[in-house]
């Protein structure tokens, strides 16, 4: 079990333990919307990570100067500023991706992950930890988006990242590209994660019960020997 106070844990925890989508159920709007293909998912995750990292950095640096009552308003302005920057840069340098992701780039402003991390972490921790936390959360977000995007792209268009994987005779499941497919796939993904967690928990429980029973047996033997 990783030492929870090391710097590296601040990064790693975002990948699984506190994965923003799969564990904390944050940021589901863009997750469902842009994962029609793996590439779109990756692009969205990178854009979000950019905003997340820089906002966390700035908020952490100025956290002691901002009075409590105006902190939410300040965070919002800072986040919205970085989102605008990302939006303009994408429109200028990557116009095709910008069109594919559409209105979901500006919606990064209300991505609960960013405000959530700002409130829960960046406002209370040093810049270095905040940046690592942000990068970790971003990486976890990227992982989840890539997985969801790949599944939907594979089953819906036979390709992953544009490379055809499934043979031609496989008829694509159009529903995967539509909203219904997004909901259902994400739901099943969550179900899988839960299944894994539940089985881990029940394994732990049976371990504890086994130990208790063994100890019980041992106590009985000791008692018998004494008599």
């Amino acid at each position: 079990m990783a030492n929870k106070n090391t710097l590296s844990y601040e990064f790693v925890k975002g990948l699984w333990d506190q994965n923003p989508i799969l564990k904390q159920v944050l940021g589901t709007c863009p997750t469902l919307a842009v994962t029609v293909s793996a590439l779109n998912g990756i692009a969205m995750a990178l854009a979000t990570t950019f905003v997340l990292t820089f906002s966390s950095l700035i908020i952490s640096i100025v956290r002691k100067i901002i009075p409590n009552q105006v902190r939410i308003a300040s965070y919002i302005v800072i986040i919205a500023t970085f989102v605008t920057i990302v939006d303009y840069v994408m429109k200028a340098a990557f116009p095709d991706l910008s069109k594919a992701l559409g209105p979901y780039i500006p919606l990064i402003v209300v991505n609960c992950i960013i405000l959530g991390r700002a409130e829960a972490f960046a406002s209370k921790n040093s810049p270095i930890r905040s940046v690592l936390d942000a990068l970790g959360m971003g990486a976890g977000f990227l992982l989840a988006l890539f997985i969801l995007g790949s599944i939907r792209e594979l089953l819906g268009s036979r390709t992953i990242l544009g490379y055809q994987i499934l043979p031609d005779f496989y008829t694509p499941w159009l529903v995967m590209i539509l909203p219904a497919g997004a909901f259902i796939t994400l739901g099943l993904l969550f179900g899988l994660v839960n299944l894994y967690n539940l089985s881990k928990e029940s394994k732990k429980k049976s371990e504890i019960i086994k130990q208790y029973l063994e100890q019980n047996q041992q106590d009985k033997i000791n008692l018998a020997e004494e008599n």
């Binding site: 009075p67 009552q69 302005v77 920057i85 303009y88 429109k91 590209i177």
Partner: protein, 187 residues
């Protein structure tokens, strides 16, 4: 009181920094965005008018219209981007027409959000090639379930009738507007 002043100062400073950095980004990005748009339009124009060697935007009219010329700088027709409502949302297309607006050279779909796999088939060559050399008088017509038998008629896509009909409606609407302008001598 000191708290209120501190709040105001912090908010103002954040506001100013945000405003300034954003206006700088906008100044850097806007020209590039305009160039991107122009490049896209240019590509689309040459796709619907493959014989064209140059083009020029037509001024003084309400619509976006480009006149295209051959290698001797003689006008050979127009490239006309237009948009309208489809089945699921907006369809934006560009149509190449000859000088008298009577024959279509080609149609390309620029933007659409139709049902993937069904309505989105309007972007496929099998549908679009019907518009090559299609006559526009009295207007473009469609037929369902059987091949077209008139020079101004196309066949709708099976299971994508509404999307196909929308494309025809958008073309008729736009071309009629152009024909009216031609009658008035404005183009």
């Amino acid at each position: 009181m000191k708290n209120v002043i501190q709040m105001l100062i912090v908010l103002t400073v954040i506001g100013i920094i945000s405003g300034v950095s954003l206006s700088e980004i906008a100044i850097w990005a806007n020209p590039k965005i305009a160039v991107n748009r122009a490049k896209e339009t240019e590509k689309a124009i040459y796709r619907v008018q493959p014989k064209a060697k140059s083009f020029k935007k037509v001024d003084k009219i309400d619509l976006e219209l480009y006149q295209v010329f051959d290698e001797n700088n003689l006008p050979i027709g127009y490239a006309f981007p237009y948009e309208g409502n489809g089945f699921q949302g907006k369809i934006r297309l560009i149509v190449g027409l000859n000088d008298s607006l009577s024959v279509i050279s080609r149609v390309e779909i620029l933007e659409q959000v139709e049902t993937p796999g069904l309505g989105s088939k309007i972007t496929e060559e099998s549908f679009l090639k019907q518009f090559i050399d299609l006559l526009t008088s009295p207007q473009i017509e469609w037929v369902k379930g059987s091949p077209p038998n008139k020079p101004n008629e196309i066949q709708t896509i099976t299971a994508a009738t509404i999307s196909s009909k929308s494309v025809v409606a958008i073309l008729n609407d736009g071309i009629n507007k152009l024909k009216k302008l031609k009658e008035k001598g404005e183009i």
